[in-house]
Symmetry: C2
């Protein structure tokens, strides 16, 4: 069954809404923070722990999973849920983002989770059909088209899937951006057709493009709403500053669908979340909290804290004594500081548990605020 989106409450103050996305693998209460599990696992956590933290949706990358372990292995295991042992909902992207990052180099740090081989990626050809590139893993030629991406995503079997799209660079002339947008739309329709030929239990979100050109953004949203996508994602370049991102959300906000869930791709820092929610976005994915944890940056109500600082060497308090996470229940700042200084791998596990819990609870509080019309 495709997803069922129920709006529980619409704020009287803004476009924010509290909702529930019902899927075959459970309910995502929105607004919700989506943890990034590129290779089918959140970095340094096992999937059981991710569920225990209360992460209701996990984001996996088709690009990575297609190259390793490959869609067929996952399919034989009975799909991604079964392969990675996650009972709760999963979303996969199309692979487009990674492939075009390679081509244009416009997005930094996108391939951090790429494994051990350092061989550079290389885009060989971009055509109407799709993209040909060399695998960073073993140098073999890989072709990615709307059909191939969606077929891979069918084998993965995530609850929410994303059509193959083109991601033009930030610096692009208007005419080229317009052409790119039209191709993205054609690719998304091909993706949608492949999806609808065998929907299974999956739902596909159309991805709004148009870069920082607000007219194109609005045009893209209108176009997608004319087709039977089960949700809307906002993708592509969101600009270089928070202001540019806010302009785009402001331009789209009014026309975002009332009856379909809205996802903001790749943005989930603490500063952007309230504005996104107030603009009508329901779900956000970002590697921010997990990456921050690996750098010793710990999220707290009074701002992020650098656990490696010497002031924590003797601090026997937990990170946050009101926090429900296993790290705060068991360990002191002094111990976490020690693990960090000693470069013990378990520091990543313990700090990621905390940071993800923080994000989940932060979103629960935003949800409460919506229910009380405070946001």
């Amino acid at each position: 069954m495709p997803l069922d989106f129920k709006v529980v409450h619409r704020s009287k103050l803004s476009r924010a809404r509290a909702g529930e996305i019902h899927t075959d693998h459970g309910i995502i209460r929105t607004p919700s923070f989506i943890a990034v599990g590129t290779n089918g696992t959140v970095k340094a956590l096992d999937n059981k722990t991710v569920e225990e933290i209360g992460v209701e949706l996990m984001f996996c990358n088709t690009y990575h999973l297609m190259l390793q372990p490959g869609p067929d292995v996952v399919a034989r295991a009975g799909g991604l849920h079964s392969f990675v042992r996650r009972r709760l909902p999963i979303i996969t992207d199309s692979g487009g983002f990674q492939v075009f990052s390679l081509a244009y180099g416009s997005v930094e740090g996108e391939l951090k989770g790429k494994g051990t081989k350092k061989q550079a990626n290389q885009v060989i050809e971009i055509s109407e059909e799709g993209v040909t590139f060399r695998s960073y893993r073993d140098g073999r030629k890989v072709v990615l088209t709307p059909e191939i991406s969606v077929e891979a995503q069918k084998k993965f079997g995530a609850d929410i899937i994303i059509p193959f799209d083109e991601l033009p660079p930030y610096h692009i002339r208007d005419k080229a951006l317009q052409e790119s947008l039209e191709r993205t739309h054609r690719w998304q329709l091909r993706s949608l057709e492949t999806h609808r030929s065998a929907p299974l239990h999956q739902s596909m979100y159309g991805v709004v493009h148009g870069g920082i050109n607000l007219a194109l953004r609005e045009q893209s949203l209108r176009f997608l709403l004319g087709h039977p996508f089960e949700g809307i994602a906002i993708g592509g370049s969101m600009g270089k500053t928070k202001d540019e991102m806010r302009s785009i959300l402001r331009a789209l906000s009014e026309n975002l669908p009332n009856d379909k869930p809205v996802h903001l791709l790749g943005i989930g820092d603490l500063e952007s979340l309230p504005f996104g929610v107030a603009s009508g976005v329901d779900t956000f994915d970002s590697s921010y909290p997990t990456k921050a944890a690996r750098h010793g940056l710990v999220l707290t109500r009074s701002g992020p804290l650098k656990i490696g600082r010497s002031i924590y060497a003797n601090d026997l308090n937990p990170i946050d004594e009101t926090c429900r996470c296993a790290t705060c229940k068991h360990y002191s700042r002094a111990y976490l500081h020690h693990l960090f200084k000693a470069a013990e791998p378990v520091k990543d596990t313990l700090l990621t548990i905390h940071n993800l819990t923080y994000m989940v609870d932060f979103m629960h509080e935003l949800r409460e605020s919506i229910l009380e019309d405070l946001i």
Copy 2:
């Protein structure tokens, strides 16, 4: 209270015995495998998980903990158990092993767990008083003497502690070895005196030295048994081959105490364990299973398995379907293979859980064999 050692059964076939070491933090059922948690944590596992696996004793390194976080921080936290949140027994060594590895370079890979700074260690002076060396962490001068080592171990508060000893290199003339042994004994008596001036709940094991000289080994054991150590550890160079190690154990076996626990320092590979147990050794520490896990070497009843091999890419079975560990209960070989190939940090956690469980269960089975006079 110092430890209380109860022998439950002595094998009719060998010197093997099934026992219980009672400590203030619980009972260690012997023979037992001791996990290495150099910096107060087993690599890639949190201490709660280590307890859940059933690791009844954890081995921490005074050398590392003395340099970071330092004995005072640990003491202020209420001791190592409280600082690292382990409720079960802990043993600390004296730091001697690491310091002398630096001086003589006789032991490879001893400093794998040393943290991020790559600065070389350096021994400045060895005298009757003790050893002066430069910290690998920050280059500062550190003095280690029997008194300083034991005082640090008092602050750590482990259940079992080790006297400061000298570790001569494998290649040493007999006369020098004899002199080293005498100094080691003097240092151990100074350590014992410091210990007995404030025993707390701790017990100190005397460390048998003498390298591969069997006469000196026997002399060392006799010497130690003449002093009120609460247990015996077998340390120093055990030779370069398994045969040399077996000769040493054979030479000591007959005179090992009946009423005190016996520990074999730094040896715990699957091949050596049954021979050690049959020789009268009760506990063994080794980083073998945890290090193996990080290299993708998985322990099974039919021999170790390299999870990175391509034959596991499609293998949807658990590592071992009869294994009780969380990894085998939840994840397939194919998924673990994928995590390994993708260099996902959680692979170390999942494979270490399995390997440590394997060791714990392996020792339980050896214990059963003793109870049935089969070993």
